[in-house]
Subunit: 234 residues, 2 copies
């Protein structure tokens, strides 16, 4: 049982249930395709609770946006801070930088694919990419840009460029895309591999592949040889 400052206000559970249902339904179906009745039923609350707690459907959507930003901030961005610190400590030591990069990539792969809740976040953010709403700036400023800037700094350090060099930013986009591809294109990959679901072993294989690819893009040598590379490096 939680010990600190627990004030179970009565409506909090209803709010949380609605926001969670909103994350699932909005992310999968899109804003307009989700009926308020479906939200209420999925949350196990009464229809009127939406208007009461959030002022309406759009207010609930904004609340879901806030949850996505908060959860990603708590579970993704700490690793980003760690990356910045570790990069400073590594300095010009490329072997150390390789270790820093590998740990970061592996952490991010685990965070993006190992957490059962992350696909919901990814789907929600993806909707805002293809059909931006008023929530897009909130998501971008809250989570996308901090992440992107940190990876840009990594790419810049590895390639000997400034972190705001356009080439660093584009390389960061490539690196992030490599990871997110496994969260976005999950359905076709499962079919392609003949898998039913991601398992720890399969996630480890994905992580190995992504780490090897990221280090290659960054032109950093892996610490231990766990890649299946037979390609020559002249």
């Amino acid at each position: 049982m939680p010990s600190q400052a627990e004030t179970p206000v009565r409506g909090d559970d209803t709010r949380a249930q609605l926001i969670d249902a909103g994350l699932r339904l909005f992310g999968q179906m899109g804003y307009q395709a989700v009926a308020t009745r479906a939200l209420a039923q999925a949350a196990g609350v009464n229809l009127a609770a939406i208007a009461y707690h959030f002022g309406g459907k759009s207010g609930l959507y904004e609340a879901v946006t806030g949850l996505v930003v908060a959860e990603i901030r708590d579970e993704i961005l700490p690793a980003v801070t760690t990356l910045s610190d570790a990069m400073g400590a590594a300095g010009a030591d490329r072997a150390a930088l390789a270790g820093v990069a590998e740990r970061f990539i592996r952490t991010q792969v685990a965070a993006f694919l190992g957490n059962a809740r992350r696909p919901l976040h990814v789907a929600f953010v993806l909707r805002e990419y293809t059909a931006p709403t008023a929530s897009f700036p909130v998501l971008y400023d809250g989570v996308v840009e901090p992440m992107h800037k940190a990876v840009s700094a990594l790419a810049g350090a590895a390639h000997g460029l400034a972190s705001d060099d356009p080439r660093s930013i584009l390389t960061a986009h490539v690196l992030i895309g490599q990871i997110v591809a496994f969260a976005i294109a999950r359905a076709p990959l499962l079919r392609r591999m003949g898998w039913q679901d991601y398992t720890p072993e399969r996630l480890a294989a994905i992580a190995d592949t992504v780490v090897a690819a990221a280090l290659a893009v960054l032109r950093l040598s892996p610490g231990r040889a766990d890649m299946a590379s037979t390609g020559a490096c002249p």
Copy 2:
């Protein structure tokens, strides 16, 4: 004016207008969020034409799926066939393979980002990834798997693995993700770069970045040194 085999059957224009409107609206809003009245208005045709030509909203959606498959088959898969042929010609020559890979990646980047119509296809397919419908197998069998298998063969050849080796498939997923990331995460990248839109110069910069990244992942040396790499390759 087109010259060849033009048989402007009367209903064809209405059908085409509806399918095109469906591609735009379904891709941006999702199936359930699009009203038949919105489809008819966007297509500039009467509401009753949907039932007349497609039997209903779902029939129109299937027709849109067919259009997506057909257009991608015509504009993306030819390069896939070319890749297979060129790989056979390159054989074990890694320098030749590098040239083949670079040409393929550059072609795909141009095809995915240089065509104004492609974002519509990407958005539509993306919807089927996160919320699959009966159209998902059509898209997967028609365009996703052929593309994926070709890139898997490329990854396998570069890494000395079988094309159906899980590591080849996962690496192919990484390579495709590198390209598609610029089509999917277009909005945040534009904001990150301070761009308003993709221009030919910017697309060239993206292509250079993706080609460099892909060749690095494949452990192939670029034919000419146009990369910004300062990283050592021991």
